[in-house]
């Protein structure tokens, strides 16, 4: 039993990481109609910025993280301002490929700026743990879970209750009509890219202590976040978050109880079969295409 609780607690932590990344992907998808394959790459780049500020510039970790968030804001703004804004006429397939190009640029720029050696980033709270029902969870784990949940709570509050959220939701629903109604869709899209980049770096900073900061830091997170979006459906903001937690829990349980080598692959296979039967995800609705 205690192992099970331990696994679930640990999964909630990975779930938070995946859901932050997935939320970034879904915000971009809803406002710009782009599948954001570069979410992980941008998060990886900005995590390198955090690590650089922490190790080389000698800042305290919390300040370095804030620095990384600022740099994420700037990268998000830049990507939208320089590229995405000018792709209104590009076909949806080509738009997805633009983000693949973005991956290449970020993966190429990072070793140039920060060197090729793997770096290390410590946890925000290095020691201490809390016993829960025979299991234990580190304070840093609690911080990750709590922080992830509160970021999501704030985002959902903004989306559902504020004028800005309304602007984002109208843009997501129909960009052309939104523009006719006086919604500044260009600014909305730009803010969406910045928010997604910040969510990316938060996920990156949470992932980094488990491994070392390398170019592949976010590959797993990116893949799982995308699959979370598929599982939850691309039509709602909360679907992917739900999907991310399900994936986090299912993955750890499969890895522990079924097979430590094949657990993750079994999960992917299961989700593949799932989307064959429910092509629009857990919460998604079928979009009726008019001819």
């Amino acid at each position: 039993m205690s192992t099970f609780v331990q696994l679930v607690l640990r999964s909630l932590e990975t779930g938070s990481i995946y859901s932050l990344a997935a939320l970034g992907i879904i915000i971009i998808y809803r406002t710009s109609n782009i599948t954001h394959f570069a979410q992980g790459a941008m998060g990886m780049f900005n995590t390198f910025v955090v690590t650089f500020l922490f190790t080389t510039a000698g800042m305290p970790l919390w300040l370095a993280i804030i620095g990384g968030m600022v740099s994420a804001l700037i990268t998000g703004f830049t990507v939208d301002f320089v590229i995405i804004r000018h792709t209104k006429k590009v076909s949806p397939v080509a738009k997805q490929i633009i983000t693949l190009g973005l991956i290449m640029i970020f993966v190429g720029v990072t070793p140039f700026l920060f060197g090729v050696d793997p770096l290390n980033l410590p946890q925000l709270i290095p020691t201490g743990s809390l016993p829960v029902a025979g299991a234990s969870i580190s304070f840093n784990g609690i911080l990750n879970i709590g922080f992830g949940l509160s970021v999501m709570a704030v985002l959902f509050y903004v989306l559902q209750r504020t004028k800005w959220g309304l602007a984002i939701r109208t843009t997501a629903s129909n960009e052309f009509t939104a523009r006719l109604m006086g919604v500044p869709t260009k600014t909305v899209t730009m803010v969406a890219w910045a928010v997604a980049a910040v969510l990316g770096v938060l996920a990156g900073v949470m992932t980094a202590p488990f491994t070392s900061v390398t170019l592949n830091l976010m590959d797993g997170v990116q893949l799982n976040a995308l699959i979370a979006c598929v599982l939850g459906g691309f039509q709602t903001f909360y679907g992917p978050v739900l999907g991310a937690y399900i994936i986090g829990i299912a993955k750890n349980l499969l890895v522990y109880y079924v097979s430590s080598v094949w657990g993750e692959q079994l999960l992917y296979l299961g989700i593949l079969i799932f989307i064959v039967f429910r092509p629009y995800g857990l919460i998604g609705k079928k979009i009726v295409k008019k001819v």
Binding site: T87, V93, I97, I98, G101, I103, M104, G108, T110, I275
Partner: protein, 338 residues
């Protein structure tokens, strides 16, 4: 949208053009023997040919059918490992190994094609990505067959059981396969299948209403794309003679995808040009540039920027560059004359 046709491709003699292109490629070993080209260029041009085969297959999906697949690398790797295992461990003849290495990825490809009927564009991209991830993980874990991270070696192919090819012979084989693939795809896209795929890309509902069998053509497109990826994997293992799991990651699929976009979507020569830009130009030219050349990841940055710039400003690809230059030159001339 009307597609311009590059002027140097004469429609009537398309097949002859492909054969001439192949003959031109066959001159590379000759030039190396004469000392006009460096020895390493054979491997370089050979790799361009190998990746071109996979890229032409993916172009059939991406360009003509409008379906994104991110699983190319997985299928290439699968075929490479099967072929290596069959020839080295099982001591099967080359031809049977090829058949095996083609049919297993083909079966997987058909399964994915069946799934693709259910799911739409971006779901499909992610589904193929996870198929590729599962395959890559298998390459790492099935050590008995794949030799894990130490990598698997194979030898140059032995045709019909007695005709052992050397390096140049294998190279010629690559060229022959490439020309064959070019002619095959050319015939397909200019025939009924090409028209059906074009109609499906425009509007599935309309195509279906006009009597295009969606299941059939999607399956054929997927089957062809995966078997060409598999073919490319077979050529890879028997020309490069070595493979290990990190070769077949998402990066490889992305490179092949970007080659198509950069070179020219829905264009056979364009695909090859794109593969040349993505895989050969970094080695040939970019490394010569002072300071930047030595930078890690420089080729990656250049490719990324190229993809974005080409998509934004030159959606038909670099293959039309020569054509447009000529037109521009014609305009300038016409202005100057009077």
């Amino acid at each position: 949208m009307k597609l311009k046709r590059p002027s140097f491709i004469v429609k009537k003699n398309a097949h002859l053009n492909y054969v001439l292109f192949g003959v031109a490629l066959c001159l590379v070993p000759l030039l190396i023997e004469l000392g006009l080209l460096r020895n390493s260029y054979l491997t370089l041009v050979g790799s361009v040919i190998i990746y071109s085969v996979a890229a032409i297959g993916l172009n059939l999906l991406l360009g003509w059918s409008g379906l994104i697949s991110l699983g190319t690398a997985g299928f290439m790797g699968l075929a490479a490992y099967i072929s290596a295992y069959a020839t080295v461990n099982l001591k099967l003849p080359f031809e049977i190994a090829v058949l095996l290495a083609l049919s297993i990825p083909l079966a997987v490809g058909i399964l994915v094609g069946l799934v693709s009927l259910k799911i739409e564009g971006l779901y499909l991209a992610i589904a193929t990505l996870s198929v590729s991830e599962i395959l890559r993980k298998s390459f790492e874990e099935f050590g008995d067959i794949t030799n894990g991270f130490s990598g698997k070696t194979a030898s140059y192919p032995k045709l019909l059981g007695f005709f052992q090819l050397d390096k140049y012979g294998t190279y010629i084989l690559l060229v022959v396969v490439l020309v064959g693939v070019m002619i095959l795809i050319h015939n397909m896209i200019n025939g009924q299948m090409g028209r059906a795929l074009n109609a499906m890309r425009g509007s599935e509902a309309a195509a279906q209403a006009m009597g295009v069998h969606l299941l059939k053509y999607r399956l054929v497109a997927f089957a062809l794309a995966t078997s060409l990826a598999a073919l490319s994997g077979i050529l890879y293992i028997h020309f490069i003679k070595y493979t290990y799991p990190p070769t077949w990651t998402l990066g490889m699929s992305l490179n092949i995808l970007s080659a198509i976009i950069i070179g020219g979507v829905r264009n056979i020569y364009g695909t090859i040009l794109g593969v040349f830009v993505v895989f050969a130009v970094p080695d040939l030219f970019l490394k010569q540039i002072p300071y930047f050349g030595a930078m890690p990841g420089f080729a990656y940055i250049v490719n990324g920027i190229l993809i974005i710039v080409v998509i934004m400003y030159y959606p038909y690809g670099l293959i039309y560059l020569g054509n447009d230059m000529k037109k521009l030159w014609g305009k300038v001339k016409a202005k100057v004359k009077p």
